[in-house]
Amino acid sequence: MNNYPAILIIAPLLGAFFAGLAVWIQERLAYPIALISLGLSTFASVNVLMAVIANGPVHYRMAGWAPPMGIEYRIDLLNAMVLVLVSSIAFLNLLASYKNVEQETHDRAASFYVAYLLFVVGLLGVVATGDLFNLYVLIEITSLTSYTLVALGDRDRGPLASLNYLFVGVIGASFYLLGVGYIYIITGSLNMVDVAGILPDLPGSSTVLVGFILCLLGVWIKMALFPLHVWLPNGYTYAPTAFSRVVAPLMTKVMVYVMIRLMITVFGLDYVFVKLHLSEAVVWLGTIAIVFGGVMALSQKNLKKMLTYIIICEIGYMVGGAWLGNELGMTGAILHIVNDALMTFALFLAVGNIVYKIKDVDYPNLSGLFGKMPWTMAGFVLAAFSIIGVPPTCGFFSKWYLILGAFEAGAYHFAAALLISSLICAVLFFKVFEICFFAPEGNGHSHDHSHGHGDQVIVMDEAPVASLVTLAIVSLALILVGVYSGTIVNTIILPFLR
């Protein structure tokens, strides 16, 4: 059926508004509606991926008008892969987080699902669209719903973290809008492919340069590249669990996708790497981001905040890899989008389970977790190995491509930063493992349900079954994606780049 590109975004949109009606009519329908709509969307995105692999890029014209008069969805291999990633992670997260939402926002859980669905609609639309201004509108939907959802977390610090996120996010989106404005004024069109056809006739134009840099700055602010990252640690730490599980893996990676799309499809690799001389500076920026993220993560005392600094470090990998200028680096960056989303999702699933049981994840509270929550910690250990880069988990393969690309481009500082960050992550995670492994000494400060009089008997007190099953699925995916990364590179990434 050729309407699948529309279904994958209309299903969650309709679901959001039907759930919005359900908030006022029958609250308990909101969760099933959300599940069904995200399930439909995942199904449609998998079908689109199959169609694109078999037949080439899919063009879907909204309202029947041909581009550039109307808006068109242009779904090629890169799009389709990221669409499957976004919809499946959002669906799995909804399955896993039912109890978390009940615990943290019990009186307005139905409205939470409405905002969640709108957030996922925004992400899917950002990935699928082929029109520059439509991209801006969808970035704004994503941003507005994320400002709202972040503020629903911690009662004390949530609203302030969200307001700081709002100010920086508005600057980022407005820079992107200005960039699109400059490009529109000089080319007269808003469709990505159409603009790519007109731009080569305007060499050396200062407007195109300023437009490109403004769009890039806007996207960099939204993906939290150092030094524009100041909103991310507080924003993701104080968000509610169910939301941080979906925003941490997806939002920054979708913005990396936007950057790659702008570089490859709109401006063209020739313009970006040959005419501008920014790539070395950006690779240095990526290097500094990696080192900064690692060092700041080492100095944190709270598990959730430490993980947010690891996200900043991973963004440095992707930005540096994409700007290396060779095929290996770009392949590594695109593969890392998939891998990092899965790894971060697994980590935040595990941390969400811990938060469900122990509310506060400062390091001293984490003792004895290996005994209390063995399955959760097993998933956490696997995801940690993937971040460090241990084969056969997927993290190793994307790091391998990035290091090879760095050597080929002569960017030895970037390769060194990649290796150093593996070491830093190893130190970091083993420190956490050590705290979690040993039971607390003395009387039971951190046990809710154990009966310890003198000697500590740690009772297993695991998180709800749904989140454990989801963690198991994602851990399996980490290993499978790692083992099959050669297939993924050869069927999806390399044909896209060529």
Binding site: F133, Y147, S162
Partner: protein
């Protein structure tokens, strides 16, 4: 020097709106009170909207509503000259941007109300002090 003056005069709309944008951006970065930052955000976004709309202007053209088109079947006979009507596309895009800016302002206001209910102040340095005391 004279070429800079003629440059400014020929493109004075861009200069005006960029200066307005920078005023808004300065307010967002440098002011202490959260409401003043919000006002700065509004100025910044409004200046971008005006920047876009000003690019659609054509000298001597009128608003983008086709004249005498509401007669029904006489429309196809009349030839429509593009130079008679200003460019409608920036107006359409900026309708969307205005709505987005209003929505963002509403959400930011709701957040400020929550912050005030919790901390009884809207000055950023006092908020930072309260947070570091905890």
């Amino acid at each position: 020097m004279t070429e800079i003056i003629s440059l400014v005069v020929a493109k004075y709309n861009y200069w005006l709106y960029i200066i307005l944008m920078m005023i808004g951006l300065y307010a967002m970065i440098a002011k202490n009170n959260l409401i003043k930052k919000l006002v700065g955000m509004n100025i910044f976004q409004t200046a971008i909207i005006l920047f876009y709309v000003s690019t659609g202007y054509k000298t001597g053209a009128t608003i983008p509503i086709i004249k005498n088109a509401h007669g029904g079947h006489g429309v196809e006979a009349a030839v429509i000259h593009a130079a008679d009507y200003i460019n409608p596309l920036p107006h359409v895009l900026m309708l969307t941007a205005i709505v987005v800016s209003v929505a963002t302002f509403g959400v930011a206001m709701a957040l400020c109300v929550r912050i005030y209910q919790r901390y009884q102040t809207l000055e950023e340095d006092e908020l930072r002090m309260r947070l570091s005391e905890k």
